[in-house]
Symmetry: C2
Subunit: 137 residues, 2 copies
């Protein structure tokens, strides 16, 4: 499957290393279109020298091409919120993962019955939830 992994970039890179581990895990059996989101830099290399319009066009093309969206939502991000609403408009299955130790997930996501929400408390629980989500796709 082609997966669109969504995680924060300009909203904050506190979870960049976690994104990288999730992406590596997903790539064991699937293709991840947005692999750059796990890059260690503040602004992933693929976006360097690209205009905002070019980044948006690229990401929207990947979103349309994807079979499903996997979003790690523990760091708040305008772009991820936008991507999840857009994924819904495109009819893509969306699985959202949120670390409960970080507060409360947005009511716009948690309250919208379209999304499959997975709350977790540690990384082992996250990876189990990821595997279970992938099995349903």
């Amino acid at each position: 499957m082609k997966l669109y992994f969504a995680g924060s970039i300009r909203g904050g890179r506190a979870d960049a290393a976690l994104y990288a581990r999730v992406i590596r895990h997903l790539k064991e059996r699937h293709s991840v279109l947005t692999e750059h989101i796990g890059a260690p830099s503040a602004f992933p290399t693929v976006e360097e020298g690209m205009t905002d319009r070019e980044i948006w066009l690229q990401d929207m093309a990947w979103l349309r091409e994807s079979d499903a969206v996997i979003a790690e939502c523990s760091t708040p991000s305008l772009g991820v919120g936008y991507e999840l609403a857009t994924a819904q408009a495109l009819g893509k299955p969306v699985h959202i993962f949120f670390n409960e130790n970080r507060g409360f997930l947005s009511a716009m996501l948690a309250g919208d019955p379209y999304y499959r929400i997975h709350l977790y408390r540690d990384e082992a629980e996250l990876f189990r939830a990821l595997d279970q989500a992938l099995e349903t796709l």
Copy 2:
């Protein structure tokens, strides 16, 4: 006009007092459906005792009812990103305000030609941009 003001709640309340000043300004000549977003508490009173589903239903009803969306995006927020993509799907005019001193606005918003983006550096500039945006509505 009926305005839907969008600002961060669970993403962080660092700008709650600013939201209150923007809402007070908007209310001089318009009606603001989401006035609770300027409340000083971490979780605005109107949401106390409501489930996530009830909050989402309420906000989606207000979004459909609104004539335009005014979003202050300096604090990253999943919910605001979701609301802005949904506002676009509903064909609502959307004006986004972002304080340049706070970093870079999401490429998903800055790169999407649908939105009117207003960058500002201080509150006087924000209020001038707000007035200009309101005149175009």
